[in-house]
């Protein structure tokens, strides 16, 4: 990708390699579960239910990366990198956040 990633970048525009690197940080120890449960619709209600989370677990059993599948799925809304980074910060997943913003100052 030639365009640099900013807070306003749509998640659906993220490159393949960035998605892979995010999954390296979020797949282990089920860290993606913290992320998925924090995703909210514009109305404020959770986007994914417990049943939905189980579908992603099923994909994990098939050898798919739940993080990559989640980014595909959530990316179909006009969700942005800023929203994802806010959630990553909230759960102190700063290594994953720094994949998106390499220069990010970690507090």
């Amino acid at each position: 990708m030639n365009n640099p990633v900013t807070s306003a970048t749509y998640i659906r525009s993220l490159s393949y390699s960035l998605r892979r690197r995010l999954s390296d940080f979020l797949d282990p120890q089920g860290r993606w579960r913290d992320v998925i449960m924090s995703i909210r619709n514009p109305g404020g209600e959770p986007r994914y239910s417990q049943h939905h989370v189980r579908r992603f677990e099923g994909l994990l059993a098939q050898g798919c990366s739940p993080t990559v599948e989640l980014l595909n799925d959530w990316g179909t809304t006009n969700s942005t990198v800023g929203e994802l980074v806010d959630i990553l910060r909230q759960h102190k997943l700063l290594a994953a956040a720094s994949v998106l913003f390499p220069g990010m100052i970690c507090k």
Binding site: R55, T76, T77
Partner: protein
């Protein structure tokens, strides 16, 4: 222009290919071509059979256009909004507007 009066035939191959690009991949939760086909009143068995196709989205669009008098550009846009695929609406709106403009010019 009233998009509900523009038949789906106004959409060219480029738009249909792009729609396939967005709708062909299956999603765990978000709507894909299957949800769209269901909103177009295709039955479960019909949808199951489209799944064997390489590009189910274009097949569904062709068959919808052939069988339903309600197959309009406006209806397609309202289905995409209903199944919450606002990414497609946002990305393809300029292209669709352009197709509709050309169609109207050719009709005159």
């Amino acid at each position: 222009v009233d998009f509900d009066s523009i038949p789906l035939a106004a959409l060219n191959v480029t738009v249909r290919k792009k729609l396939g690009l967005y709708l062909n991949p299956k999603n765990a939760v978000a709507a894909d071509w299957m949800a769209v086909a269901e909103s177009m009143d295709f039955t479960y068995l019909e949808i199951k059979n489209y799944a064997a196709s390489k590009n189910p989205t274009t097949m569904v669009l062709d068959d919808w256009q052939a069988r339903s008098s309600g197959a309009t550009v406006g209806r397609l846009l309202s289905i995409l909004k209903k199944v919450e695929r606002n990414d497609i609406v946002e990305d393809l709106q300029p292209l669709i507007d352009d197709n509709v403009r050309r169609y109207c010019v050719n009709q005159k």
